[in-house]
């Protein structure tokens, strides 16, 4: 691996930047591996990286039906935070935030993690009560979160309109200063490059078409569009297509796949200092380092696999953005797109063993998976390597739906999040 540093950039510059090599090999599938990850997004590539780095499994592969980072990793609004209500969620998401903090150093790849603060707006008495409860619960769990008055919120984010003449005036806000954003593509590329350097094969354009099982029903291999791959361990990290992939193995999970859209504006000079979210009026916004406003909203109403949604969802979001930030009213929007997110009944993920021996699944991240990429990948790798969950992901099992131990962030947030 060519290490990146200011010196290496300078040195390559002297030779007109001609000496750079591809950041990972274009691998072809081998006949067999110790483990195979299905899905080359951030979660899957990260799991491969941690399997190799922390568990010594280097004879492994990531198979991806398209190109890496082309699914929800490349389609999200890059918000990172850990201010979730329940203890289990706080542990999982904060594990992730802690890994984000030095991820660029660990991967030797600038993922541009920017803890610029995530501010969540309260617009009614219910919001105020719920967010204050979140603030207290988070503090008990060692997760930073603080309550702001409308004036303090405006001080933190000057473009914010705290006037009383809007449809849903702001009554306060919860601020997590350690939250922020990161560069989504760099997360996939950084994990891919670091995993490749440890010997992991990253195999693109390789779609799983079936599972091979032995006489006892345990995983023996994968059928793919590029041939049979023998392996005893398969970790599925396929986001919106998890139901389809696991269906091939005869495993059904409580998931529904919905389109989630996002959009960006034309790039402008730095104008927006933080991330602002409003669950109540369905909008969140930040400004990328490239200068675009990155805007997202809730899912479309219906299940779908099309990776697109209705324009009325975006216009509804922009109504809210324009009311909250009047200075953006004349901004032009450049692009909008959709991704397919797999949603569980309690809006918490599943990172667990499945009923099929040797088959593991990391799914159900719904609308909020990007923030969890490093933490999720880290505990998923543990689960695959040791055939048992890490204490952090143990509660995020499949049986919780049968046994009634939901981690009901859906009820806690009252919206998709």
């Amino acid at each position: 691996m060519q290490r990146f540093s200011a010196f290496s950039v300078f040195r390559r510059g002297l030779s007109d930047h001609q000496g750079w090599r591809p950041q990972w090999r274009r691998a072809a599938p081998k006949a067999s591996y110790d483990a195979v990850i299905v899905g080359g997004g951030g979660h899957g590539l990260g799991a491969a990286f941690y399997l190799a780095k922390e568990h010594g499994l280097t004879n492994i592969a990531v198979v991806e039906k398209g190109w890496i980072g082309g699914g929800n990793t490349g389609r999200n609004t890059t918000i990172i935070r850990s201010n979730y209500l329940f203890d289990e969620s706080a542990a999982l998401y904060d594990h992730s935030v802690k890994l984000w903090e030095d991820l660029s150093q660990v991967l030797n790849y600038n993922v541009m993690f920017s803890p610029r603060g995530v501010m969540m707006l309260a617009h009614n008495v219910h919001d105020v009560q719920v967010f204050k409860r979140h603030v207290h619960a988070n503090r008990c769990n060692g997760v930073d979160n603080e309550w702001l008055t409308p004036e303090q919120a405006k001080e933190f984010c000057p473009p914010l309109n705290i006037g009383q003449d809007i449809r849903y005036p702001i009554m306060g806000a919860a601020l997590q200063r350690r939250g922020g954003t990161a560069r989504h593509d760099a997360v996939a590329w950084g994990y891919a490059r670091a995993a490749d350097a440890l010997g992991v094969d990253i195999i693109e354009n390789c779609e799983v078409t079936g599972f091979l099982k032995d006489a006892h029903g345990a995983i023996e291999g994968l059928q793919t569009s590029r041939g049979v791959i023998r392996t005893k361990k398969v970790g599925v990290s396929a986001a919106g297509n998890t139901s389809a992939v696991l269906g091939l193995a005869g495993v059904a999970l409580p998931l529904e796949s919905y389109p989630l859209q996002a959009l960006v504006s034309e790039p402008v000079k730095p104008a927006f200092p933080c991330v602002v979210m409003s669950n109540t009026i369905h909008a969140y916004i930040s400004q990328s380092d490239k200068g675009e406003l990155v805007i997202g909203a809730g899912t479309d109403a219906y299940t779908s696999y099309t990776q697109r949604g209705g324009l009325h969802i975006n216009t509804h979001t922009l109504d809210a953005i324009c009311e909250l930030f009047p200075m953006f009213r004349r901004m032009q929007m450049l692009r909008n797109w959709g991704g397919i997110v797999d949603v569980t009944p309690d809006r918490s993920p599943i990172i667990a063993k499945t009923p099929v021996p040797g088959l593991y699944v990391n799914c159900g991240w719904g609308t909020g998976g990007f923030k969890a990429t490093p933490g999720s990948a880290n505990v998923f790798a543990w689960t695959i390597a040791r055939d048992e969950p890490h204490p952090i992901n143990a509660p995020f099992n499949i049986e919780r739906f049968r046994d009634g131990f939901l981690i009901d962030e859906a009820a806690a947030a009252a919206v998709a999040h």
């Binding site: 409580p254 219906y302 299940t303 099309t306 209705g310 009944p345």
Partner: protein, 99 residues
């Protein structure tokens, strides 16, 4: 935005409708006799079909009645609309769609 054919009111924009999830999930007649797994299956398990999906819609900003539809979730094209309580109409095989 989808165009949806309410069986009672005709074709209207999606913004008049509320999505009702997967169709043809009957509430158990004797819930007390179900074990935990059966109850969880009724509550939470959905086909999440990639292909032709039978689903409920409600004309929330119209006649407010529930009805069913068949939609291909890989294209979002509607294939049929039918009233609640009716069985889904038989479809000619659709190229590329799986049930």
């Amino acid at each position: 935005m989808l165009l949806i054919q309410c069986p009672y009111c005709g074709e209207r924009p999606e913004s008049e409708f509320a999505y009702g999830g997967e169709a043809h999930i009957a509430r158990p007649l004797r819930p007390a006799e179900l074990d935990d797994q059966q109850w969880a299956t009724f509550l939470y398990m959905r086909r999440n079909t990639k292909g032709v999906h039978a689903e409920r819609w409600r004309h929330a900003r119209g006649c407010n009645r529930f009805f069913n539809a068949l939609r291909d979730t890989t294209t979002d094209k509607f294939l049929a609309f039918y009233k609640a309580g009716e069985q889904p109409p038989a479809l000619n095989p659709i190229p590329g769609a799986t049930r």
